[in-house]
Symmetry: C3
């Protein structure tokens, strides 16, 4: 496997990047992240030019990093400005600085050559919108990121792996529609369930206690950005002719699926809602429930990774209708990695 390079990846939540030195590897590239006194997020290659000591194991001196081994000192743009035992700093002494964009409370890094186009970064506006309340987290996954893409593009697994949380029998039973927008580079998968059971995740958070209409509209932006627009409403409640849908509940679930190494992944997840905005109990419930669901996936995918690692590559699979979205995602990923 090769990584999809020349791409934007979520590397951290904005609040993770601060005074400390945060080590995080993306696509096999070790980075050190911190925030300057002026508030700018910085990402440098996490290896001193001298003897490759990790800069994340070092110390800050103002906006600079002083290597913890021999004191090579770096500016936020990666330039080395001091070395021990001599006043002359070699001209070639610099570590690569990575292009960073902060948007919607996410820190994006450009992994590739040259500079990326920030306009190409997909948006998640509800993460900073006052009309939404968000809970979120990040779990380490000991599996290749493609397994998580597969997992999230086919939600029929909710019925089996997440029963009692978000899964009900109707999820697996209801057919999906899949649409690949090659131009925009997005895979859409939709499932519209009418008059179905309301799983605990939504009944306890919304207060609905009868049957519901439940929409799942997935947008997958390769290589690693995933949005699930979830609409829940008492059965029969429809959006108004003017587009007003305020009688329904909207939950914007999202994932950043970020390859760390070839077989490990950063699994960022969030749940934004447009109801019970100030209800701390609902926030705690949704946080804990969704984290449980994420960890159920983590456990299952870690097992699958072990299966794949123990078998020769190119094992056979059998795909059916539910896999249409996942297969479209794989084709897009293949194109990106082949470039």
């Amino acid at each position: 496997m090769v990584f999809a390079r020349n791409q934007w990846y979520v590397v951290a939540y904005g609040e993770e990047v601060g005074d400390g030195l945060l080590a995080r590897t993306v696509c096999g590239e070790p980075l050190v992240l911190y925030r300057t006194g002026a508030g700018e997020a910085v990402a440098l290659a996490d290896r001193c030019v001298h003897r490759r000591f990790p800069l994340s194991e070092s110390n800050r001196d103002g906006d600079r990093i002083v290597c913890g081994y021999h004191g090579f000192t770096y500016d936020p743009d990666g330039t080395c400005v001091a070395v021990p035992g001599q006043t002359r700093v070699p001209r070639t002494a610099r570590v690569p600085a990575y292009q960073i964009v902060e948007r919607d409370s996410l820190v994006w890094v450009w992994i590739g050559d040259g500079r990326g186009d920030a306009a190409a970064i997909p948006r998640a506006p509800w993460l900073e919108s006052p009309s939404y309340t968000t809970v979120r987290g990040m779990e380490p996954l000991a599996a290749r990121y493609e397994l998580l893409v597969d997992n999230l593009l086919d939600l029929s697994h909710e019925t089996y792996l997440h029963a009692g949380y978000i899964g009900t029998p109707e999820v697996a039973q209801t057919p999906i529609t899949t649409e690949t927008d090659e131009e925009a580079g997005v895979v859409h998968v939709s499932r519209r369930m009418k008059d179905v059971e309301c799983p605990p995740f939504y009944s306890r958070s919304t207060g609905i206690d009868g049957r519901i209409d439940r929409w799942q509209d997935i947008e997958y932006h390769p290589p690693g950005f995933y949005l699930l627009h979830s609409r829940i409403a008492p059965t029969g409640v429809e959006p108004g002719p003017d587009g007003d849908d305020s009688d329904a509940f909207h939950v914007e679930v999202g994932y950043a699926i970020v390859p760390e190494t070839e077989t490990t992944t950063h699994d960022f997840w969030w749940v934004a809602r447009d109801f019970a905005l100030d209800d701390a109990e609902v926030s705690a419930f949704l946080h804990d429930s969704n984290r449980t669901v994420v960890l159920q996936d983590v456990v299952a995918l870690n097992k699958l990774e072990k299966v794949m690692a123990s078998e020769p590559a190119g094992h056979q699979e059998l795909s059916i209708n539910i896999d249409t979205g996942g297969l479209a995602a794989r084709r897009m990923l293949q194109k990106l990695t082949a470039r």
Copy 2:
């Protein structure tokens, strides 16, 4: 190394296979085992055809297994009978079912092509005989199974590794006779000790407190079935002219030596005796003593495996008379794996 295929292997004790889903790997092939409502033991390949999720991490629905990831549902013969999101089940959807034979309280599985001949399975009738009482267990061994074959074919190691349990100086001192029955595919190793010390394993279980005659008659049925017919009697007590030997004590020790992977092994062991049949204290003593002896071997062989893993293959060995049985066993194994 390759495994000996087209062979019967012990995969479990009968009582291990029940309502649950038991994962067990034999010769690198992952299996899931369970027992149908009608009492029949079933072994299927432990990988869903869809995305290779382990069926052993799944759930039963009556006699069927429902995959824990996306709900693919299998009959005991491996046929997939239901998939999510659609009513049509692809015709090719099936997992391999393995041929199973239960005999003498052991569950045997055929690893290979086509169907095996159940008549070729070696017997251990005392395991279910009312004239014997048996204690048994299974220990995981982090070593290639050939090391356990070597170990068991040469019991002179009892003197050094199992002193205080079954080893006495006379075991290593007494020469052996070895006979290879190529036609039947069995290696026989015998050691007849006359007027020797009685080790605690036998003195405490039989009550003999003087010198003994001690016979060790080994039958090794490649690749993985091992019987040790052990006869202990006060010195001078001989079988009668009519074959009656009821003044002696008989202990039928057995091992199933089952390769899990190239470097790990299932080490099944049992001790059946024709005396003190209802004496729970003797049972507990023999169980604990033999398990200790097995674990002494496990510790030593795990160390040897690490030695072998840390060295280039084809290291030199020096073999002597005591190794005649082990070398014969290796030759038979080589023939079986070369097929």
Copy 3:
């Protein structure tokens, strides 16, 4: 990487070799060490000729080792003198015996062909001199030994990694002089600091509470012997014209840098002083402080080893003046390993 063979290596402190069987691997060669009744240190290959069982997991019978698996018995010169089940011992039955020299309380082993010249062993006479008191230890390092050579040849890292113990800003600031004696096969690195801060390691042990002159004179004897002649004196105190330097404090720090495997190292260290000879508190302080310093290096180098293991070989480095000694050491090591 290959090891430098046909070399002397420190394998143990004299007091480590006694009645027990000590397992220690040098340059990938597993050894078992013990001391005969007559007091002679013995090193044999730690593998029985029969089935490669580690002799270090065995037992002694007087000056002999009896293999813990099948009882093959060896004389201190490696000759096998008894085997089980037969009186004839095969003529070829012997394990390699390694040439051992004990000098200055260190046990040296010759790794290579034939016999080594004991006169080539570098000396550390203060280890057994009544004019010095020594504290010492050995720490396992999960890193290739070259990283420790690099580390010790460039003491500017004291300022960053060992601040509060032996590091002060002046160490990194003071230039070094390096001299390579190709004929003797020694690298010399010297740093003379005048009128500098006295770090706690020296102030608490010597009782000096003002500014000091501090000399660091390194001798590196490839592949793995390192001496640091450290002289501390109140600023301005110089050796007399007759060479008398009794108003200064002398600390003879030493390391034996001994490759265990390609990526692990035995890190022997000692600190000998010519003052406060009978002061147990100073001994305890120097032992604990130096062990802390060694462990700071161990932690840093273990991290570096992980960095190197995770990256393709031949990564770029940037060397400056402080690295002159380390680069000279590398060149000498390359010559030794190329032979």
